[in-house]
């Protein structure tokens, strides 16, 4: 069994209260006794029991992180940055992968709340539903602890959102592509999560403000059951064969962007001469295809850092902004010429 504060106090010939004081750096302790206690702690390698500490402090100094799938390339990155920042701020984190089903998510929220975490971080816009009823669980949770949402927006009292302005980022990138002379732009996407909707909005806005006609015909949802990149490429080829022609592609994520590159290779189109492609997320995948994929970077690292800073502020009683929005940036590689 490992040492307790009692063992240390005994060896040092002081009371546990004194030991506790030096441990917490709190009240005044005579420097000599402080030294003596520290020496003994070092010598015997004592470390406080964090459960007991949590009971005394009524806080675990632990944050619950929920994400749908921590092996997703985008979410993994976010979780990584969050944990690094939390750790640096002296918080533990409890990670929980929920999958994409709403009921499962609710259950996991309850589970993690029962661990008496000090706060909750929802990673990814898939935690926000379109219907208000789908989000009741967020309101309920926020009654107990502050809820942070990464990459989506939800307005409520004790919830704080950090996000990238996906709509505007997509708008700007689509506009830039259009103004470079590429007027027939195919938009491909998988799902309409919160950020998925924003991106599509941004694309539509861009086409509208360019007075582009019939742009809706070039908005293409990839059915969720087709997942292989080659299959998606084939689906795009089909779409083209059905009478839609385009010389640019904007994809809602990098995987889809790569599928578009594969489509071009299949059709013998040159990139970027015959077809320009822009992905989204600026993930490691961008380097894997040839030519390398131009992509929109949504500042995940900055978002994560800000989120933790905001959370720590909230937990220490400060007033913090309920919504912080960053702008994405277009990272140009070789699937675009502008």
């Amino acid at each position: 069994m490992s040492l307790t504060i009692y063992d240390i106090s005994e060896k040092a010939g002081v009371s546990i209260a004194t030991v506790s004081r030096v441990l917490n750096g709190s009240s005044k302790v005579k420097e000599s006794t402080r030294q003596k206690i520290m020496d003994i702690i070092d010598e015997y390698g004592y470390t406080p029991n964090s459960s007991a500490r949590a009971m005394g402090l009524k806080s675990m100094r632990t944050i619950g992180i929920l994400c749908a799938d921590s092996s997703d390339i985008f979410l993994a990155k976010a979780v990584y940055y969050l944990q690094q920042n939390l750790q640096a701020s002296g918080y533990e984190s409890l990670l929980c992968c929920t999958g994409y089903n709403l009921d499962a998510k609710k259950n996991y929220v309850n589970l993690i709340l029962s661990k008496k975490v000090d706060g909750l971080i929802l990673v990814g816009s898939n935690f926000i539903g379109e219907a208000e009823t789908e989000n009741q669980y967020i309101i309920d949770s926020s009654a107990k602890v502050p809820v942070m949402v990464l990459n989506a927006s939800y307005h409520n009292d004790n919830v704080y959102c950090i996000l990238c302005d996906d709509r505007n980022s997509m708008y700007r990138a689509a506009t830039e592509m259009y103004e470079s002379g590429i007027h027939d732009i195919l938009y491909i996407y998988n799902s309409l999560s919160y950020s998925g909707r924003k991106k599509l909005d941004g694309f539509r806005m861009a086409m509208q403000s360019q007075k582009k006609e019939d742009y809706e015909d070039l908005i293409c949802q990839i059915p969720s059951e087709i997942t292989g990149l080659e299959d998606i490429a084939e689906y795009i080829a089909d779409y083209e064969r059905r009478g839609h022609s385009f010389n640019g592609v904007m994809a809602a994520d990098d995987q889809l962007g790569i599928a578009a590159v594969k489509y071009a290779q299949k059709k013998g189109l040159r990139i970027p001469e015959d077809l320009s492609v822009i992905g989204y997320n600026n993930s490691v995948l961008t380097g894997c295809c040839t030519p390398e994929l131009t992509s929109i970077d949504n500042q995940l690292e900055t978002q994560s850092r800000t989120l933790v800073k905001t959370l720590v502020g909230v937990l220490s009683g400060q007033d913090m902004p309920h919504k912080t929005v960053f702008s994405g940036t277009l990272v140009k590689r070789n699937t675009t010429a502008f």
Copy 2:
């Protein structure tokens, strides 16, 4: 403040011991009182305080997971599977990303041990050093809790290893490539972690048993400072220009495999006619290049499941195998013709 066991016992008109009993499903409780208590728990939404519980049980039912970088595509997958399995077995997990520096790793081990976790999982062979002194911290840790190692082998009393036989997997794949008529095989790798060494061993064994001469000339370490895939491709091209010729590439991971594909594209070589390529890990990256990358799958999901099963066994006092080895399988895609 949330409810305690006292609140529930009061509302139910029983003692806290009885409530605790139904909570733990332990000793005999009359069905009617059990029902009554459950109803009240449901009605008021009581959830036990896990710190208090940990103190009583003298266990947090928590496992510490250490990995160098949870955003690494391979490690993220492993961590994901581990967490899923631990959760299913009723364990929490505390994830901690250590980076690749040895001293940092040691510090993190101590940190996580101070949380009084019930066990430790080291994810990835980069936790095992070549020199024995580098591994002392594992021995020290295993004196306190069982230590599980994923994807590497280390022999000690309270440490348990689950791994894929990388040497043999590489041996078989290289042999298959050789026997298909591809006799000049370039081996590329980054680092010599535990599994990195095994893979290289396997390659060497294969070449030796084929009586291939001068195969050492075709073993190429990519300097760690060059990281971009295009740059690696360029490095390979340089290597070739310096007088090494080859018609096959075996890469120590998928990223390097893709770099080899990029090299071929750069040189105008046809894949697989002029150059065959095999990657390692069978990650999502395999689908991103064109043609899609043949890769060795190291059964991460199976490894993770087995690891958790073994850990749970150890924690419940059962005798468990100290070393479990799976075999990798070659997943053939389009960078190979055999």
